[in-house]
C-alpha cells in the first residue's frame, strides 16, 4: 500500500474547555492512500469526533493529525463529507446542490462561472453513476430519502476530493437501498481510487466495504483493534452469505460488546 494519507497520533480531544467531556483519548490510527477504512464502536464513543478531527473542523488539545503530509490546523479542503442527514438545501435543485462545493472550494470557485457547462456535465455523470440520471432538475424534497442520500454522495464527490469522510451515511435507509448504495460506494472507490473513511453502526457494512476496520472503545474513545478484512476485491453482495464473512462480523460484534463493558 502507498504512504499514509491520514495519520492520527496520540490525539486527545475534549469538548467545552478544561472541565468538559473528554471525547477521545490517546487516539492513534493511520489510513493509507486509496484505502477504505471503516470505524465501528459503541454509541457516543467519539466516531463523529474522529471525523471532525480529520477534516479539521475540530483541532485537538494534544496530539497530531496529519492529512496528506500536512499537520491539520484548519479545515482541509481536499475532503468530501457526507452525514446520515443528507442536508440538501431545499431552495436549490439537486444539481445546484451538488455544485455547491464548487462555489466554496478555492481552486474551483474561480473557474466555475467560465466553465459551468463542464462542471454540470460532471455532476450529471455523477448522478448517473449513483442511479439518479435525469433527477438533477428536481428539488431535494421531491426525492425520497434514499435518493437524497445518493445526491449527497454526489455532492461529497463533485470537487474530486482525495479523501471521502462518511459518517453513517446509510443509517436511515432501508436494507435494500442500503445494499444498493454499498455497491455504488464500492464501485466509486474502485473506479476513482479515492481514500474513504466510513463511520458505521452496521458491522456487515464495515466488513463488506472496508479494507480494514477500526474498533473503538467506549468514551473516551481510542482504537482497541485494527482488523484487516481479507476478502478479495471486487466483492459481490453474495459474500454477505459466506461463512467467513459471518465469522468476521461475529468477531467484530464480540469486540464491540467487550468495548462497551471495558472502559
Amino acid at each position: 500500500m502507498a504512504y499514509p494519507l491520514v495519520t492520527i497520533s496520540n490525539v486527545d480531544m475534549r469538548y467545552g474547555g478544561a472541565e468538559g467531556i473528554l471525547a477521545v483519548k490517546d487516539l492513534t490510527l493511520s489510513v493509507a492512500k486509496g484505502e477504505f477504512a471503516a470505524v465501528v464502536g459503541p454509541s457516543g464513543c467519539g466516531k463523529s469526533t474522529l471525523m471532525k478531527l480529520v477534516t479539521g473542523l475540530h483541532i485537538p488539545q494534544s496530539g497530531v493529525v496529519m492529512v496528506a503530509g500536512e499537520r491539520v490546523t484548519r479545515p482541509v479542503s481536499i475532503v468530501g463529507m457526507a452525514f446520515q442527514n443528507p442536508t440538501m438545501l431545499p431552495w436549490r435543485t439537486t444539481l445546484d446542490n451538488i455544485l455547491l462545493p464548487l462555489e466554496i472550494v478555492e481552486r474551483h470557485r474561480k473557474r466555475l462561472r467560465a466553465n459551468k457547462a463542464e462542471y454540470v456535465a460532471k455532476a450529471e455523470k455523477l448522478l448517473e453513476t449513483v442511479g439518479l440520471k435525469g433527477f438533477g432538475s428536481k428539488f431535494p424534497w421531491q426525492l425520497s430519502g434514499g435518493m437524497q442520500q445518493r445526491a449527497n454522495l454526489c455532492r461529497a464527490l463533485i470537487h474530486e476530493p482525495d479523501l471521502l469522510m462518511l459518517d453513517e451515511p446509510f443509517g436511515a435507509l432501508d436494507s435494500f437501498t442500503r445494499e444498493e448504495l454499498w455497491c455504488v460506494i464500492r464501485d466509486l472507490h474502485a473506479a476513482q481510487g479515492v481514500t474513504i473513511v466510513l463511520v458505521t453502526h452496521d458491522l456487515r457494512e464495515a466488513a463488506f466495504l472496508a479494507d480494514k476496520v477500526f474498533v473503538m472503545s467506549s468514551r473516551p474513545g481510542r482504537i482497541l483493534q485494527e482488523r484487516r478484512v481479507p476478502f478479495e476485491r471486487p466483492r459481490d453482495l453474495d459474500i454477505l452469505y459466506k461463512p467467513e464473512f459471518n465469522d468476521l462480523v461475529h468477531e467484530l460484534r464480540g469486540a464491540i460488546a467487550e468495548a462497551r463493558i471495558a472502559v
Binding site: 482541509v76 452525514f83 442536508t87 438545501l89 431552495w91 455547491l100 424534497w141 469522510m165
Partner: protein
C-alpha cells in the same frame, strides 16, 4: 375559480365570503331584534350609511393611515432585515443586543408617542415612527432565528470545504432565513397598523385614528365603526399582499402545495 370538476359548488373557496357575510347578517338581525341603540352598537346598514355620508373624510383619512403605516412598515423591513442579519451573524452581538431589544419591545408603544411628539411635533412623523417601532421587532427576531438555526451538519460540510463565515451566510444563512423573514411580514404589517392608529389617536390631526377619536367625542358612533371597518379592510388587503409575496418568493418552503 372552481376546482376543475365543474360539478358542485366549491365551498372551500367560498367559505371566507360566506362566513363574513354571515357575520354581518347575524349582526344586523341581532341589532334589530334586540333593539340595540345606535350609539352602543350600530347595525351594519347604519355603518354603511355613515361610510357613504362621510366618504370624502373617510377616504382622505384612510389614505393617510395607509401611508403612515406603509412607510413605517417599510422602514421596519429595511431596519429589521439589517439588524436581524447583524444579530444572527455574531453570537456576541446577539448576546449584547437581545436583552435590550426584549426590554424595548416590552415598552407599550403608546408610552413612546408623547416623546415622539416632543421631538417631532404631532402628525405624520410620530405615526410613521410608532408603526416602525412596533413592527420592527418580529422582523429582527425572525431573520435572526433563520440564521441561528442553520443545521450544524450543513455548516460542517461547508466549513470542511474551506467556507468562510461569509460563504455560509450567503449560501445558506440568508436563503434559509427568507421564509422566516417573509413570514414575519404578515405579523409586522398588522402591528404597523396598531402603531400608526395608536399614534394618530393620541397625537394627530389626520388619519383614521384621529377621525375615530373625534367622532367618538361627538357621539358619532356609526362613524367610529366606519373607521374600524376601513382599518379592517386595509389590514386584510395588506396582509393578503404579504401572504402573496411570501408564497411567490419562498415557494420551496411550502413544498406540500408546490409539488405537482
Amino acid at each position: 375559480m372552481s376546482a376543475g370538476t365543474g360539478r358542485g359548488f366549491n365551498w372551500l373557496n367560498a367559505a371566507p365570503w360566506v362566513y363574513t357575510i354571515g357575520l354581518f347578517v347575524i349582526w344586523e338581525v341581532s341589532v334589530r331584534a334586540f333593539g340595540i341603540a345606535q350609539y352602543i352598537l350600530p347595525a351594519p346598514s347604519v355603518i354603511l350609511n355613515a361610510i357613504v355620508e362621510f366618504w370624502p373624510a373617510i377616504w382622505k383619512n384612510s389614505l393617510q393611515t395607509l401611508y403612515t403605516t406603509t412607510v413605517g412598515f417599510l422602514l421596519a423591513v429595511v431596519g429589521g432585515l439589517a439588524l436581524g442579519l447583524l444579530v444572527g451573524w455574531s453570537k456576541t452581538i446577539y448576546a449584547g443586543l437581545y436583552p435590550i431589544m426584549v426590554g424595548f419591545n416590552a415598552i407599550p408603544k403608546v408610552a413612546i408617542v408623547p416623546i415622539l411628539v416632543i421631538w417631532f411635533g404631532i402628525g405624520t412623523i410620530p405615526a410613521v415612527l410608532t408603526a416602525f417601532l412596533i413592527s420592527f421587532f418580529p422582523i429582527v427576531v425572525n431573520v435572526a432565528t433563520g440564521l441561528a438555526t442553520i443545521e450544524p451538519e450543513t455548516e460542517d460540510v461547508l466549513r470542511a470545504l474551506g467556507a468562510k463565515k461569509m460563504d455560509i451566510m450567503l449560501k445558506v444563512g440568508i436563503p434559509r432565513s427568507m421564509p422566516y423573514f417573509f413570514g414575519s411580514l404578515k405579523v409586522a404589517i398588522t402591528l404597523a397598523f396598531v402603531g400608526s392608529v395608536v399614534s394618530e389617536t393620541v397625537a394627530s390631526n389626520t388619519g383614521l385614528g384621529q377621525m375615530m377619536s373625534a367622532a367618538q367625542s361627538q357621539f358619532n358612533v356609526p362613524l367610529v365603526f366606519a373607521g374600524l371597518i376601513m382599518l379592517a379592510v386595509e389590514g386584510i388587503a395588506m396582509y393578503a399582499l404579504m401572504a402573496w409575496i411570501e408564497r411567490r418568493t419562498t415557494g420551496w418552503a411550502h413544498r406540500g402545495q408546490m409539488a405537482q
